[in-house]
């Protein structure tokens, strides 16, 4: 289907199904129950899942296929965000032009940075991309204030021109980004028994775009172009001596990857029309690296899983506090309860980043293939057990 083989088609369909039913799947606990705070099915978080999923898919096209580790990928996310807000300000509050312009601007920006950075490889490439991103961050926060709004950031205003909206003005409020009048923030809520499911416009728009992005990524992975990129990672010298010019391949890959970041940036401002320089900082670049590695770099689904995993735990972990821990461990004797809470305390709430750092290190050390490898290992374990069972059954029969 869609030019994919059976395995890839089922992967795409699976992701599509998961994404479509996410508002239900991510809310497994009834409202008001003690575990309801672990529900992730609210619009803001789900939007982040899919938007960062796009960002990570794009990063993975570069790092996963070619092995070029960009430490400045957030620059494209930020460039896309700024471009998106300007489109919302100048053109129309409709998000479609904003998203398209974000993607294009990030693409242009990545042509410039990629053309220079790709002259070097290995750690030099990482440092060059990092240097460019830090430059962009520093400039966005200072000199470029007229374009970027400086440290406070750029946002939409009531009296923006919005030339394509032909002077349509709604009351005294700043109009919210919308898709042909359908506001991104609007949701349809469906209470079923004890559960409350929220279907949000912004989420579904982002989800559809993520599915398209995911589909394109699959095609790239399976294409001759993708094979060349894997060959770059494997042995660049052989590729050169096989008559292939690696530079345009790398640049094309870098730009595609940058456009994914731009698309993610555009969607971010479509959900919340605000862009600040911190979106370009190296910590943001580091985050997408974490996502891809944690999920499983070089695999198709890994980065999406990683993005979801990090964003989910960031939200949930930081909500757990000592009171909650005391509640959970209340069944234990007081002494043990207090010790347990004291041990866990540094890793929850504000300590979430500590947990993340430790998890990340563990993955690099023990599980270089990330969550995907973990899944495969568990799968193999079950398979082996199954075959052990069958052999156990056949032996006595003989």
């Amino acid at each position: 289907m869609l030019g994919l083989n059976k395995k890839d088609t089922s992967l795409l369909l699976l992701v599509a199904a998961l994404v479509a039913f996410a508002p239900i799947l991510l809310n497994p606990f009834p409202e008001g129950s003690a575990l309801a705070q672990f529900n992730a099915g609210y619009p803001d978080l789900m939007q982040r899942f899919v938007i960062f999923g796009i960002f990570a898919i794009g990063f993975n096209i570069l790092f996963g296929l070619t092995g070029y580790l960009s430490f400045g990928h957030a620059a494209f996310l930020g460039a896309g965000s700024y471009a998106g807000v300007w489109a919302l300000k100048l053109l129309t509050i409709n998000v479609i032009p904003a998203i398209i312009i974000s993607t294009i601007v990030a693409g242009l920006f990545s042509i410039l940075i990629g053309y220079i950075s790709l002259r070097r490889s290995g750690i030099y490439f990482s440092i060059l991309t990092l240097a460019f991103a830090q430059m962009a961050f520093a400039l966005a926060a200072s000199v470029l204030t007229p374009i970027t709004g400086g440290e406070t950031g750029l946002q939409t205003n009531l009296n923006d021109p919005r030339i394509l909206d032909f002077g349509v003005r709604e009351g005294g409020n700043i109009p919210a980004p919308s898709l042909f009048g359908l506001e991104m923030g609007s949701s349809f809520q469906l209470p079923v028994a004890g559960w409350l499911w929220t279907f949000n416009v912004g989420y579904y728009l982002s989800a559809v775009l993520m599915l398209i992005a995911f589909y394109i990524a699959i095609r790239i992975f399976r294409s001759p172009f993708g094979m060349m990129l894997k060959a770059v990672k494997s042995n660049q010298q052989r590729l050169n001596y096989t008559g292939l010019n690696t530079r345009p391949y790398m640049l094309a890959c870098f730009v595609i990857s940058g456009m994914y970041a731009g698309l993610a940036g555009g969607l971010m401002v479509a959900m919340d029309p605000l862009a600040g320089p911190e979106r370009m900082q190296w910590t943001a670049s580091g985050e997408v690296v974490l996502m891809s590695i944690l999920g499983g770099v070089g695999t198709l689904i890994g980065p999406v899983l990683g993005a979801g995993f990090i964003k989910y735990f960031e939200n949930i972990f930081s909500k757990i506090n000592d009171n909650l821990l005391h509640q959970w461990f209340a069944f234990m004797p007081d002494g043990i309860e207090n010790v347990l809470v004291a041990i866990i305390h540094p890793f929850i709430g504000k300590g979430w980043h500590l947990t993340l750092g430790l998890m990340f290190m563990a993955v690099i050390i023990f599980l270089p293939g990330g969550l995907v490898e973990l899944g495969q290992r568990i799968g193999r374990l079950f398979k082996r057990r199954k075959s052990d069972d069958t052999s156990g059954q056949t032996t006595p029969a003989e």
């Binding site: 095609r219 294409s223 001759p224 590729l239 050169n240 096989t242 292939l244 010019n245």
Partner: protein, 252 residues
């Protein structure tokens, strides 16, 4: 007719004269060996032919066109394929994928943005790669990861990848270095077979005299960066100059 013409090539590294006034002419459809003791400048010469190094002076003409100042991939597209001393293949890819890449390079040139179609949908490429694999007796290994093969098989794959491009000149850099005797003999047989089957010029840099005298139709002896003598193998064997250059290396 000569397909490769090297004239007056000099190359210095700091104080070291690596190549001094090298003249070399390789006839089309011949097997030409370049031999010499360690440090004679064989590898430097080879690197000057494929674009890795640029000579300080002199000219290198391939089929009437200069290769100087061109990048390795451009020179490869002109029709020169190179086999490395240690097999250079795509270790993380399957044997089949390894073989398809030179097929793409042959069909599409140095760059082709084909990010939409599937690799396996390229029927002509698949057929071409399959054909070369069968030629190399490697069809049964097509799904193997290239890095997991034996050294001899890697060498075979690398030579196959070069042949898939249908080059006019195949350059081999000590193709049997570090190989066991059996593997070396296999490689010699493979190269003989290649020579018999197609119109191809082979230039081989070699240390192992057994390989050289089994294959070469003409031999150039390089010593201290300068060609000492160029002749047919029979005359090289008894040449006193060559003995002198190899003094201490008794096999000659």
């Amino acid at each position: 007719m000569s397909i490769l013409e090297v004239k007056g090539v000099n190359k210095r590294f700091g104080g070291l004269q690596a190549l001094g006034d090298v003249n070399l002419s390789v006839q089309e459809n011949s097997v030409h060996a370049i031999i010499g003791p360690n440090g004679a400048g064989k590898s430097t010469l080879l690197n000057c032919l494929v674009g890795k190094l640029i000579p300080d002076t002199g000219s290198v003409m391939f089929d009437g066109q200069s290769v100087l100042g061109r990048t390795p991939y451009e020179i490869n597209q002109m029709g020169i394929s190179r086999v490395f001393q240690t097999p250079e293949i795509f270790g993380d890819l399957t044997v089949m994928e390894n073989m398809m890449i030179p097929c793409f390079a042959k069909r599409d040139g140095a760059f082709e943005m084909n990010a939409w179609g599937s690799v396996l949908g390229q029927k002509d490429i698949v057929a071409h790669a399959e054909h070369v694999l069968e030629d190399m007796n490697m069809a049964d290994k097509r799904q193997m990861m290239a890095s997991s093969m034996s050294r001899g098989d890697k060498r075979r794959l690398e030579i196959g990848m070069c042949l898939a491009q249908e080059p006019r000149l195949l350059l081999l850099d000590e193709p049997t270095a570090g190989m066991a005797r059996a593997d070396t003999n296999n490689t010699i047989d493979l190269l003989k077979e290649i020579k018999d089957k197609r119109d191809i010029t082979i230039a081989i840099i070699e240390h192992d005299m057994h390989v050289v005298f089994s294959l070469a139709e003409r031999i150039t002896v390089l010593a201290q960066g300068t060609p000492l003598v160029e002749d047919v193998p029979e005359n090289i064997k008894g040449n006193p100059k060559v003995r002198e250059a190899y003094l201490g290396e008794a096999q000659v």
